[in-house]
Amino acid sequence: MRSNLQLGLTLGAFAVVAVLMSCSRETRIFRQPPPANQTFNTVQVSGLNPGANSIPTPPPGNMYQESAYAVSEGQKLYEQYNCVGCHAHGGGGIGPPLMDNNWIYGSEAGNVFTTIMQGRPNGMPSFRNRIPEYQVWEIAAYVRSMAGLLPKGVSPGRPDHMRVKPSESSTPPQKPTGITGSPEQHQ
């Protein structure tokens, strides 16, 4: 009986260790691969084009679309490079909204990348040579996350200061609501 218990405990411990060993921290890439000698150089206004598809393809392994770190970097850059100036936090304004399901120039990461890199008619400026390519991929990933096109696990939440209600930790304690009648009646 006792040896069974010991065996069970040992196996359980092994199982826990084995599960823990499979955990790995998402790698963060600080030194980005060098730009692939400017393969992206075509001016392209429409998704329609003769021959092979010329939309730039995201880097291999979808490293920017499936990494929570890259998407949160994109969120930071989206504010820092003043994308909010026209697109707000996805709701649009001077520029079109980004959190809805209408994509004028396509919803693929490559489409968003192209839009940022070469600009679009009616106001979207080109950021080629201004924003490094890897950061454009990060911003593209964040833009897609706003429309819910990325897995939930990597999509960042809305910034705290944008919440309609302040977070629970910063609100004063409140009495529970919804209780009707006095305590005596319940007894």
């Binding site: 963060r28 600080f30 030194r31 980005q32 060098p34 730009p35 040579n129 201004r130 490094p132």
Partner: protein, 334 residues
């Protein structure tokens, strides 16, 4: 061995005068140094007494003790032991209270000195550098710089703190104690440096990957020198004079630089990175990480992620001619 030691001594000066609480240069730092020595001597006396006590006890004990020790009653001895332990506890508690009171008094003293006609500086923590603003009601008289804080000596300097991202802590050991920089919350403290000199400071609150490379320096100058510096900083960037520097400015304004940096007098006006209007007037770059030389600047521009992994600055691939022109231009920004 000797030459190696010599090299070590050269690389690491034995007297870290610019980053040392034991060389205070301001009355605030002086109070803190005084408290340091008081606590040091109290601890020293306690240590010596403990060692004497242990030594005496060790000398008295007999090595031929019988085990198990015989149990015997010694009422008088118990009484003496009670007194000894009671007295020791009382002395400890009293000493700790004295230290507590002295700490509070020192804190009050350091914070409560009178400040008249101060110079006001706004210090804003960023991951991982310090933005330094000398605010002025007239917007065009406001000086903005980074990481090198120029202050006049014998003048109260009021520092308003803030942070843009996480909590940082401003700590210049020669000057005063640590002050946290909290995001979205401005607090104030002040100091008054009495000896001209350069004092090093460091972020003292862990703030992310490059916390250790988030240094700053305080340069205390005579009032005249400080005003001359301020007047120089108020000027816009000088116009490039030759073809190379003109091209350098062109590179700055057409590449990623202008997305984050300001050079007053040009179209570059972004506020994400340090203001570079007078970059060449600073001694160090990258928050006291590298000397401000042409080579270090080139390395920093090309691959900052090797020097400070995780820093906000992105690597830049520039053609050699463009890089040289850019460096030539940046070095004219006196």
């Amino acid at each position: 061995m000797m030459p190696r030691l010599f090299l070590l001594a050269q690389a690491m000066p034995l007297d870290p005068g610019g980053h040392n609480i034991l060389h205070p240069a301001a009355p605030q730092g002086g109070h803190i140094e005084w408290l340091y020595w008081v606590i040091f001597w109290i601890c020293f006396v306690v240590y010596v007494l403990m060692i004497i006590g242990y030594t005496r006890a060790a000398a008295k004990s007999k090595s031929d003790a019988i085990y198990p020790l015989p149990v015997f009653e010694d009422k008088e001895g118990d009484q003496r032991a009670k007194w000894a332990v009671g007295t020791a506890v009382a002395v400890t508690v009293v000493t700790l209270f004295v230290v507590l009171v002295l700490s509070v008094v020192t804190g009050k003293k350091a914070a409560g000195l009178s400040s008249k006609n101060p110079v006001t500086i706004q210090i804003i923590g960023h991951q991982w550098w310090w933005e330094v603003v000398y605010p002025n009601p007239q917007a065009d008289q406001t000086v903005t710089t980074a990481n090198e804080i120029h202050v006049p000596v014998n003048t109260p300097v009021v520092v308003l703190t803030n942070s843009t991202d996480v909590i940082h802590s401003f700590w210049a050991p020669n000057i005063t104690g640590k002050r946290d920089l909290l995001p979205g919350y401005s607090s104030a403290f002040w100091f008054n440096i009495q000896q001209p000199g350069t004092y090093r400071g460091q972020c003292a609150e862990f703030c992310g990957l490059q916390h250790a490379h988030m240094g700053f320096s305080i340069i205390a100058q005579s009032v005249d020198d400080f005003q001359a510096w301020e007047q120089q900083q108020l000027k816009p960037a000088p116009e490039p004079t030759n073809d190379e520097t003109k091209r350098g400015r062109e590179v700055f304004l057409t590449r990623a630089c202008l997305m984050c940096h300001t050079i007053r007098g040009t179209d570059a006006g972004a506020r994400m990175g340090p203001d570079l209007t007078h970059l060449a007037s600073r001694n160090m770059i990258a928050a006291e990480t590298l000397p401000n030389t042409r080579g270090a600047l080139a390395g920093w521009i090309l691959d900052p992620q090797r020097i400070k992994p995780g820093a906000e600055m992105s690597p830049n691939s520039l053609a050699p001619d463009d890089l040289q022109a850019l460096l030539a231009y940046l070095q004219t920004l006196q």
